[in-house]
Every structure is written in C-alpha cells, then in structure tokens.
C-alpha cells in the first residue's frame, strides 16, 4: 500500500477494492453519457426497428409466410434485436473512447493507477449496458407487432452478453487506431453493416447455394444471430456449439489484443 493511501482515510486499502471503485466510475460515466445523449443513443434504433417491423415484418413478411416453421415477422425478431444490440455496442465504445482520445480526457485514466483491464472492462460494460438498453427498447417495439417467445433463457442471455462484449471489444480496437472521426465510421459502414445484412437477419442461409452457405459460416454475426434465434425461437441455421466456440474465441482474441494495445499505449502514449 502506498504511503499516500496510508494517510488517506476512507480510501480502500486493497488495490483490488480501489480497482473496483475505478471500474464502477468508468461504467457510471458511460451510462450517464448514454442517458445524457439519449437522442443519439436510444431513439435512432427505436425508429429504425419500428420501420423494419412495419416494412419487413408486416407488409412484406405477410407475403413470405413462414421460415423454419415460424411466421416471418416472428422469425426476424431475434435478428433485428441482435442487429441493433451489436451495432450499438460497437458504436458506443468506438465513439466514447475515441471522443476521450480526441478531447484528451483519456489522459485522466492513463495517469491514474489503473491497470489496463480496469479501463477495458469499464468501457466494455458501458457497451454492454447500451446494448441492453437498446435491446429492451427493440424488444418492447417487437412486442407491439407480435408475440415474443423465450425458448432458452440462458442461451438468449449468454449470447447477448457474448455478442455485446465482442462488438464492444472490436469498437475499442477501432477507437484505439482511429485518428479522426471518419476512422470510426469506416468499419461500421464497410464491414459491420454488410456482415450484419449477410448474417442471416432477414433470411435463412439454408436458401443459399452450398458454396455461399460455407462462405457465410465465416461470418461471426451469422453465429450470433442464430444462437440468439435459438434462444428465443428454438431454431438455428448453425450448430449452437459452433456458435459458442466462435463467440468465445472472438472474446478471447479481441480481449487479448485490446489489453496489449492498452498496455503498450498504442495510439494513446507517445
């Protein structure tokens, strides 16, 4: 324990306890940010998803019939929730962390006695929190249009946590390397959106030719959407075990990359 803290009554003596205070501080700051700019963080997904449900669910979906034995509007609910959740988790951390870099207030954390895992976990939990808020909003909208079922609660919950963690970590890596605001828009526009639309949100990959089915299996979003769909509806295009392996693998790889970047101070220290 440092001498400063020895004469600092009220501050936890153990480093672990101080780290948890720091972690809570970052998470609280992230949640306050999400709520402060709710017009940018919570309203857009509500509007977009309402349009998706009206157009794809009600108007076009009524003519499609069923997919894997489920009505089309019910079938797209898990994909639409997952699409909103991962886009918002990604967007939250990439814009928040890059904003902290751009405004230089990331230095508040860099000069504090926090190990990299505290900074990373705080921001990732912020991304998960935004995903949860958006997920609840989209779920509420879905319930206006159809009846939402829940087949496997733990699969649903764990897939939600893993997917938001993966895209929060990816958003973090993006923010670390970004030098200008344009850099945090490139990945969502050119990578995230195409992968989402090709990730089985609106169609079952079973309708694709075998070659494109194989190609689609390399799209991690396909695994997340289908695991989530399995949790809610009990149907999936991919084996659940494979989906979990892909998600856990991505968490480990992206988590390790993020920690190394923070430890080396890439894009943060000169």
């Amino acid at each position: 324990m440092s001498a400063a803290l020895e004469s600092n009554p009220g501050v936890p003596a153990s480093a672990r306890a101080r780290h948890f205070v720091a972690l809570g501080t970052i998470l609280r700051r992230e949640i306050r940010r999400i709520l402060r700019i709710w017009g940018q963080t919570l309203v857009p997904p509500a509007i977009t998803m309402t349009l998706y449900f009206v157009i794809f669910g009600k108007l076009i979906g009524a003519k499609i019939g069923t997919v894997q034995g489920v009505g089309y509007i019910d079938w797209i609910v898990p994909g639409l929730i997952m699409m909103s959740v991962i886009q918002n988790a990604y967007g939250n951390i990439s814009s928040s962390f890059f904003g902290a870099k751009f405004g230089r207030y990331v230095e508040e954390m860099l000069v504090a006695p926090m190990p990299p895992w505290v900074v990373l976990t705080g921001y990732v939990l912020g991304g998960v929190a935004r995903g949860l808020m958006v997920g609840v909003i989209v779920l509420a909208i879905a319930m206006v249009f159809t009846r939402v079922s829940l087949h496997h609660a733990w699969v649903t919950l764990s897939t939600f946590v893993l997917a938001t963690t993966i895209f929060s970590l990816a958003g973090f890596v993006n923010a670390v390397y970004a030098k200008k605001f344009d850099d945090i828009a490139i990945v969502p526009t050119f990578i995230l959106t195409p992968l989402t639309y090709l990730g089985g949100v609106f169609y079952s990959v079973a309708v694709l030719p075998p070659f494109w089915q194989r190609v689609s299996e390399f799209n991690p979003i396909l695994h997340m959407v289908n695991a989530f769909r399995y949790g809610l509806l009990g149907v999936s295009d991919v084996p659940i075990g494979t989906a979990y392996a892909v998600m856990l693998g991505l968490v480990v790889v992206l988590g390790a990359v993020s920690i190394v970047l923070l430890r080396r101070g890439v894009g943060l220290r000169s």
């Binding site: 440092s2 400063a4 004469s7 501050v11 480093a15 780290h19 508040e108 000069v111 006695p113 926090m114």
Partner: protein, 313 residues
C-alpha cells in the same frame, strides 16, 4: 537524507519523427520543495512531465517517485502524483462536480468521499457556484483552477503543474499562487513549469533550467539570482537634465531628457551614483528594474549567446 520526491536519471526521449526532446536529463526534487522547471518553448519540459506521468514512453533513463521505480511500480508511483497538464483535458460536457468525482474514482476514492472532497476543493478554488454547469461554459481561468482541483482529488504528495497560469489574468494568477503556497505549506511537494519567471521567483525555492533537452542550471532560486552580475535599472529624473556626470563605473544610457538606463554591476554603489546626480542638481523621482531579474539570467542561459558559448549540460 530524505528520499527525494522525484528523481530522474539519464532521461532521454527521441520521438518517432526523430526529434530529440530530452537528451539525458538528471535531477532530484526534495520532498516538500516548491520547484520550478523553466525553459523556452520546445525545451523538453512537457516531455519530462509527460514521462513522469506515464503519458510519454522514455527512450532511456529511469524515474523514481518517493524512492519507487516508475517502470516497475507504476501504480504505487501514480498514486503519489497529481498532474495539471498544459492543455485542457477534461470532458467539456461534464460538470465540474462530475469531473472531480470521476477523477477521484479513478484513484479508488469511493463516491461519497469523492463528493465531499470535490465540494471542498471547488469552494477553495471559488468554483462551487459553477459546480453543476457544463464545464465548457467556464472561463479560461476557471478551467485552469478546475484542473488543479482535479489533480488534488486523491490527495497526492507530489503535485506537478505544467504552466498552470498560462493565459489567466493577474488577479486570478495571484490567487492561484496563494492556493499553491498553502498546498505546499501543508506538505505537498510542488513542481511547476512556467513561462512567467516572476512566478518562479515568487513561489519556488529551487529551479532547474532546461534547454534543448538538457539541464543547463539546477540550483536554488536564491543562488541563481546571486549569479546575476549586472542588473539594469530605469531611473526617472525629477526633470530634464542637460548633461549627466560620470557615475563611478556605472554604464549610463539616456532614454530621453528625463529618463536614464543604468547597468549596475555587483558591488557597485547605487546610493553613491544617486549622490553624484544630486550634487549636479539632478533629482531622482523613481527607479525600477528594467526586467525581472530571473528573466535576465534566463535569457543569458538559454539565448543565442549561451548556445554559442558551449555551455555544459
């Protein structure tokens, strides 16, 4: 001898673009000291502070904070340091109260204690009435004071300020000086970089002058001033004088009919010079230093003449 608050040894930094900001700096700051780090723009002051605060990775050398090695005991060292950077680096959308509570939280200070400390610091620095407004609406001086308050939230033993009074008016500057003096008297070691040499002369006990990444002087402010062998005074006469008598070796220049500029070397008797003027019927109305004394020395140590004289690091 007590462990120095800060000790740097052979510190060097060459940036990726090839610019060498520090070329082997060594210095020690005693615990409880009020220490000035002076130098022209680009001398390496901010790089040195950046390395101590872990915002800049050194190319070589080591840093010890209260005897602990920064590289191997980073968290323990950072616990002891409060940093006030030169550039504003807080979230301008947050309120001062929120900024301070968050800063404390990053150091592990629980929320309730952080709120108490934030209120105390905001009151001390006359910011309490702005506690709940977005910080972007604060004036420049208020933003500077907010950064000082933030650096003190975890009650560090070493406070480092990088040009904290840059751009603030004289009244605010003097109130900040009083505050920093109180902090120092309460036991906090203070290191200050500044362009206002009067600030160093008023506040600091020891000083290091850095230029081109090297320490060119490291001594007490008193000794530094003692090294001045010439001081220049502006003398306002009671009325226009037709001619000026010789003043016993003091070099005299006439600025206008009623104003003189005198170069006075150490040991020369200014009172005798005034007596000579009096004997010739020339009265003196007032006198002032042409420039701040430290400023004269600073220019001599870091100016072009110093560069060509091959001064030692």
């Amino acid at each position: 001898m007590r462990t120095p608050a800060l000790e740097v040894e052979g510190l060097a930094k060459t940036y990726a673009n090839g610019v060498t900001a520090l070329a082997g700096v060594s210095l020690a700051v005693a615990e409880g000291d009020f220490f000035a780090l002076l130098g022209p723009n680009g001398a390496g002051k901010s790089t040195l502070i950046g390395i101590v605060a872990t915002l800049v990775n050194p190319s070589a050398g080591r840093v010890r904070v209260f005897g602990r090695d920064l590289a191997s005991e980073r968290e323990a060292c950072l616990d002891q340091i409060g940093l006030v950077p030169q550039e504003l680096n807080f979230n301008q959308f947050e309120t001062p109260l929120e900024i301070l509570r968050n800063a404390a939280g990053f150091y592990g200070v629980p929320r309730r204690l952080a709120t108490e400390r934030a209120e105390r610091r905001l009151r001390e620095l006359q910011l309490w009435d702005k506690a709940r407004v977005p910080s972007r609406t604060l004036s420049g001086g208020m933003k500077r004071r907010l950064m000082i308050a933030r650096a003190l939230m975890h009650e560090p033993r070493l406070l480092i300020l990088d040009e904290p009074t840059a751009g603030v008016d004289i009244e605010i500057r003097r109130s900040m000086w009083q505050f920093l003096k109180r902090i120092n008297e309460a036991g906090t070691t203070v290191i200050l970089t500044t362009h206002y040499l009067e600030e160093a002369e008023q506040l600091c006990r020891h000083v290091a002058i850095i230029d081109h990444g090297r320490i060119v002087e490291h001594t007490s402010v008193r000794e530094l001033i003692g090294k001045l062998d010439v001081e220049t005074f502006i003398v306002d006469l009671a009325g226009p004088a037709e001619s000026i008598p010789a003043l016993d070796g003091i070099e005299v220049r006439r600025l206008d009919a009623a104003t003189l500029e005198l170069d006075v070397h150490r040991g020369q008797d200014l009172a005798a010079a005034f007596a000579t003027l009096n004997r010739h019927g020339i009265g003196v109305r007032s006198m002032r230093n042409k420039a701040n004394r430290l400023e004269e020395l600073f220019v001599r140590l870091t100016g072009p003449a110093a560069s060509t004289s091959g001064r030692a690091a």
